[in-house]
Symmetry: D2
Subunit: 265 residues, 4 copies
């Protein structure tokens, strides 16, 4: 069976990668694009796509659904429009794979209940990189047995915030299973401020910023006589595409809303 | 509640560490040692233990059990005697934590059925290092999503065999969930033989041997645009003791035989 | 002072990066391109370059030199033409930075003697990645004190040969200062062939090939109670550009031929 | 030729390792120990040494020198006595290898001038781990070409101060060749204080403290499209002994004072 796929946000960085990935992938068929511009055109007419990409562009989701009958809508647009798209798709029994965050709690609750009522799958994935999600999932698991944890996240030096979103998310996930506890020596002192990193319930987070780096993270667990290290290296945007495909295939088997790739791995 | 513990093999490398660990640990009480020598003496009379370690040594397990009523027998002896110890202990409803391997399939089956009948827990753990067991468990999980795998194991240069037991075990565990597949370029050539390492169903295993190293292993998973790495470093024998304690505590809650720490983590 | 630069091979992968790098770089001016096609045109007329890149293309090097008076010729073409270019440039007292290999010993000798006679600098650099060259240089230095060495090189799985050129080069450079010696246990055995990697005078070389990887190498040195590791990660072609600029600036101060970036770092 | 060696501080942690190392080493002969206790006894009478270690103990260095004629005095005592020992040894033309720090500038100057006048070698080495010293030396060299640097040092969680002495020393050595410069994004912000680590002239230093760890450090250099990493792992005190032997052998060829192993590697 071929899964019919529509993509919202096809002209964005993630979206244009997704277009190419879905187009090439056996078992998936790209049937439409949703956009607020270029309506009535085909993706093949846009410069960023190859000329053989003959996929119609719609601005009205209801029309898109009725004319191209997609099984799944991949939504890679921004938080402003994604809630409306997702709701409308599910009302029409179209499954959704959503890569943006920024839903309010009320919106999430509504979508969750709509998914259940209509028995239509929906996956909301703040992070599509399977390797990164596995890293976080394993880190949460390991912390149950090895509760002394430090996180080192390493990114290019054009990144504005420290620690990274993934670094914080990892610490939060670990904190769900690890009681807050002070780490390091009781009388430890920093002779240079900041040396011991940021403190999240006793876990330490260190942010490295260097040119050349892309997006990397290590989670270190120490125990008597041993160390366990879980590391993820993301070299480019392709790292997300395996996760997108996995979600499209998995959402076909779901009858509810799942938040976070870690819950279906 | 304090768990009463007896140890077989107390004079060995692992055993003497276990003696010290159990002795110091809150919630555990070391009540007896099983040995074929030094019967009637106390551990405190042996040079390798501190003089305050007043723990009686028995050579007859039935007598040991009736006089010291242990809850758990930790057996760190060799394969020759461990089967008899384990069976006898379970017949007396004493739980067992076994650190040696080398059971025959028949013996295992018998112990497994005895555990079930008597509803007495038994844990057989070829590897007590929690970090190493987590590494293998996570590697098996990751391979489902990222099936391109290479293993690098690194040990001191007095090690005789390559690859290491843990290296092979990891590959075997991964092979349970990963179909055999060729890795690397279809027309790949080794201009120097051995460069691409050992081949286990397409996975590659590389063995590094250097002075200074202790026992280390990395499992590398590659996917488009990303890498996931799981690494364990074992620096000394203390790394096993956390696992021994964990098993003693866990076996109290079991009514069956469990083979491999990975099945209770 | 601005250094006037001409580039041969501007349309190639390395060459087009070099064009952009030189064009943007303060202190360098791109005055001409040498090509066997597009003569009389400007780089700005080729699709791969931005329209403001108004740099004339020549096919005759003598004419290029007389009309645009470059200080340095960067040659990123193939071995067939590079010898002639280099010789002719030096005869006209134009310094050269050459990124290809494949010179015969006789050609190298002739160029070396020409450079000395004319007191004109020439740098031939098989590898422009400063980090990779430093890794090799440091590895050679470290092996004097820590002669137990293993090399792990990791590349994408579309690479045909194992070990990599850099892996072999590193081993060769180390072998210049390290007497051949067997490593590992005297009675070491491979229970799976290839586990211990390729053998280069006793050093072991391991080649990892996984999707997602780019070009990486670790050199591990073991000593009693310690390890020294030198690692280089190359994420993309930009890693070469710092080395190209460094060579252009350095060749201005040379009056001889230097082979290998390691000799001017 | 056999080098005759005396050791001050033989009963300390480093000293007792040095005694065993010198005793076993071909080409070295342990002729005396200097101590303020146990005078007139032999090392073999102390419990911490094997009974065959028949080496006389002196408390008077002049007497030790005249009776046992050592070529080299290894001094592993504390700062209080080491200055007097070193001076007296050199006045008697005995070479010295000193493992403690804490000399005043005046003392150093006096010893330096004494070494030159008497043409007697003296090596003062705050760190005997050859791998660690090579790491620092290479880091200083690399920073000339790749000035974006971050240091991650990792130690056991009983360590009191952060960053480590080696971490600071590495940063200081790099600062000798690298102009102070801000690293990271101009508008970078820490959403959790300390995430970006300690700041040393723009270089960032991160201190990890976990049980299980021993003493480890990574120096990371970032450049466009690449990373260079230099790492040292110290697993136990044996890592210092190679450096002690190297110093004893090297000091025989010196006619001056050298401060820091990095200056003779």
């Amino acid at each position: 069976m071929t899964i019919r796929v529509a993509i919202a946000g096809a002209r964005g960085k993630m979206g244009s990668e997704a277009v190419k990935t879905v187009y090439k992938r056996d078992g998936l068929e790209l049937v439409a694009a949703l956009d607020y511009k270029h309506v009535g055109e085909s993706l093949s007419e846009l410069e960023i796509f190859p000329p053989n990409l003959d996929v119609p562009i719609y601005t009205n989701l209801t029309q898109l659904i009725s004319e191209t009958t997609p099984d799944v809508l991949i939504d890679l647009t921004n938080p402003d429009s994604v809630y409306e798209h997702t709701k409308e798709a599910m009302l029409h029994n179209v499954r959704t794979v959503v890569g943006t965050t920024g839903f309010t709690d009320d919106q999430l609750e509504e979508l969750r209940s709509l998914a259940k009522t209509n028995k239509v799958g929906c996956i909301i994935a703040p992070n599509f990189a399977i390797g990164a999600v596995l890293m976080m999932k394993f880190a949460k698991e390991a912390a149950k047995y090895l509760p002394h944890v430090e996180i080192i996240e390493l990114h290019h030096d054009r990144k504005l915030d420290a620690p990274s979103g993934t670094g914080k998310k990892t610490a939060q996930m670990i904190a769900e299973v690890r009681e807050a506890r002070r780490q390091g020596h009781e009388f430890e002192t920093e002779t240079m401020p900041g040396a011991r990193g940021a403190d999240f319930e006793g876990m330490r987070i260190h942010s490295v910023r260097l040119p050349g780096l892309v997006a990397h993270q290590e989670v270190l667990f120490g125990g008597e006589g041993q160390m366990l290290t879980i590391r993820h290296d993301s070299y480019n945007r392709e790292s997300f595409m395996g996760g997108v495909v996995y979600c499209v295939e998995t959402v076909m088997t779901l009858e509810e809303l799942v938040y976070g790739l870690e819950n279906i791995l």
